[in-house]
């Protein structure tokens, strides 16, 4: 029983970070119907940049989260402005191929900058906290808390601010939004930047838990795909719920059948959802 609760809590904690990554990915999909294959590299760049700042320059961890999030957000903004904007109205395969190839270029760039080795963040939140009968890793608790706060802030931004309302307008009715005087292109830049910001922050938050390397992005982006398929493509809340679900499935599944089979299980879960319930738990449905 204690193990079960501990697994459940650990799954939710992991899911919180997936949420940060997947909500951004889903926001991008909602606004421009583009699936960003390079989202994993936002995460890995965030993690590695975080390690460089914290270990190399002695920047405090939470400050590093903010700095990296802003940097990766800017990176996403520029990527949209320079690349994705050109194919946004084309057939989906073009944007898929473009972000897929961008992802390989980024991985290669990351290998040149940071080398191929694993980089850890030793000594940062390495302790554990006793919560009743459970022992929880400090790093996971901090990461979860920051991730949930950030996801909530972005949600509030989407719900309340003018920019946020404009993003939702473009996501739901692009033509009418444009006619109503919303500069759709600017909204797309902003959305991509926001997605980058969230994924970059998620990367730094992951760094104390897992060793980071430039090729880690692919492992996480496919998990984020699973999350948004399960939660529902285009739905912010769906991505959040989906992320917690996937976190729990991964941790509990890993305990029951081993890590590699749990990974395979996630992919089969994604394919099953694509086939049986393509709109996911909260999806906006498929706009072809």
């Amino acid at each position: 029983m204690r193990t079960a609760i501990e697994l459940l809590v650990n799954g939710v904690l992991l899911g919180g970070i997936y949420a940060l990554m997947a909500c951004g990915l889903n926001l991008i999909f909602g606004v421009m119907r583009v699936i960003n294959f390079a989202h994993g590299e936002f995460l890995s760049f965030g993690a590695l940049l975080g390690v460089s700042l914290v270990i190399g320059f002695g920047v405090p961890f939470l400050l590093a989260v903010v700095l990296v999030a802003v940097a990766i957000g800017l990176f996403g903004f520029l990527m949209q402005a320079a690349l994705v904007e050109r194919v946004v109205d084309g057939p989906p395969i073009m944007s898929l191929l473009l972000t897929y190839s961008a992802s390989t270029v980024f991985v290669n760039g990351g290998l040149l900058i940071w080398g191929g080795g694993y980089q850890g963040m030793p000594g940062v939140f390495s302790g554990s906290v006793s919560l009743g009968p459970m022992n929880l890793s400090q790093a996971r608790l901090v990461a979860f808390t920051v991730a949930v706060v950030l996801t909530g802030l972005v949600y509030a931004f989407l719900a309340k601010s003018m920019f946020g309302k404009a993003i939702r307008a473009v996501s739901e009715q692009p033509e009418i939004a444009t006619v109503s005087g919303i500069a759709a292109a600017q909204i797309r830049y902003l959305t991509f930047g926001l997605g980058g910001l969230m994924a970059g922050a998620a990367g730094v938050l992951l760094a104390p838990m897992f060793a980071s390397d430039p090729q880690m992005g692919a492992r996480f982006v496919i998990k984020a795909f699973t999350v948004i398929v399960v939660g529902g493509l285009g739905s912010y809340v769906g991505a959040f719920v989906g992320a917690l679900t996937i976190g729990v499935v991964e941790v509990v599944g890993g305990y029951l059948v081993g890590q590699t089979f749990a990974t395979a299980l996630l992919y089969f879960l994604m394919i099953a959802f694509l086939l049986l319930r393509p709109s996911g738990l909260f999806g906006v449905g498929i706009r072809r």
């Binding site: 699936i35 961008a102 040149l112 496919i222 795909f225 590699t260 395979a264 394919i271």
Partner: protein, 319 residues
């Protein structure tokens, strides 16, 4: 007519190459032929039918593992084992096609991508059979020529098949599915049956190819078998040459293979990044590829020659 002469010359050069050149050239051409086969296979489902698969290495990897296991445990000769790999790919592709082809556009692409990663995870996890990350070793192949000729036969077979497809009712039906699937269905095209057939067709050769590749390397492990780099390179080749054309995959495979060989030899560290840049460049600058460009300029005849001749003959008969 001139097309037939070019084809014969190509055939003669391919046949004579291993007799007259160094091992390096043969080894390079083996890889080139491999990509020609993968590119033509991918072209059938993604170029003609319009279902962009990001996980066709699934069949390559399945074939590689099936054939390696057949050689190791059943002592079957490698050409037969490779055929066994192809058979497994087909056996898996059929039910898989029925299921996966219900997805469209980006959803099919992600689904196939996830599938290849799932197979890779299984190959890692099922260590009692696949040795996990250690990989499986085969006795080394000293003479590459038999592999070379088999690959060459397969490659020429696929070019010919694609030529026939381009001029057939089946090919036109696939193009109709690509352009407007619901419209095609409404006009009586049996879309499900035909696209599953195209999917299975596009899985067979990569399965055989995977088996031959394992024999060529005398080694297979999950990252080699289900490599995203293989996938990406194949897609880049077809995209560069022109999706849904007869000669596009060949042009793309030859041009990019030579380019990659040069890049890989000179800049091994940024090789993959260069491939990515090449794809991005093609997507942004000439999304339809080289061949359609050449056809528009009139340097090459348009595709579907036989059907076009048929159509132009029908008009005066009615008038």
């Amino acid at each position: 007519m001139s097309g037939r002469i070019v084809a014969l010359v190509l055939l003669a050069v391919t046949a004579a190459l291993p007799l007259a050149s160094a091992a390096y050239v043969v080894s390079f051409t083996v890889q080139l032929l491999l990509f020609v086969i993968l590119a033509y296979s991918w072209n059938i489902i993604s170029g003609y039918t319009g279902y962009t698969s990001f996980g066709h290495t699934s069949f390559f990897g399945l074939g590689a593992y099936a054939s390696t296991l057949l050689i190791l445990h059943a002592q079957i000769a490698w050409p037969l084992a490779a055929l066994g790999g192809g058979a497994l790919a087909v056996a898996v592709a059929w039910p898989l096609g029925l299921v996966m082809l219900r997805l469209r556009g980006s959803f099919f692409a992600i689904g196939m991508f996830g599938l290849a990663r799932a197979f890779e995870a299984l190959a890692f996890g099922w260590a009692s059979v696949t040795q996990g990350g250690t990989g499986l070793y085969l006795p080394p192949a000293y003479d590459l020529r038999p592999i070379y000729y088999l690959l060459a036969a397969l490659a020429f077979g696929l070019v010919f098949l694609t030529y026939r497809l381009d001029n057939s009712r089946f090919g036109l039906q696939l193009l109709a599915i690509r352009e407007d699937e619901d419209g095609a269905e409404a006009l009586g095209v049996k879309t499900t049956r035909l696209k599953v057939r195209a999917f299975v067709l596009s899985a067979a050769a990569p399965g055989i190819c995977g088996g031959l590749y394992a024999t060529y390397l005398s080694f297979i492990d999950p990252p080699t078998a289900f490599s995203p780099a293989t996938e990406l390179t194949t897609i880049a080749m077809v995209l560069f040459g022109g999706m849904g054309t007869v000669l596009g995959p060949l042009v793309g495979a030859v041009v990019l293979s030579v380019l990659y060989e040069v890049l890989w030899a000179r800049f091994p560290q940024i090789y993959l990044g260069m491939v990515g840049l090449a794809i991005a460049g093609v997507v942004l600058l000439m999304p339809r590829g080289v061949l359609p460009l050449a056809m528009r300029r009139g340097w090459l005849p348009h595709g579907r020659g036989a059907l076009r001749r048929l159509a132009s003959r029908a008009v005066p008969a009615e008038a």
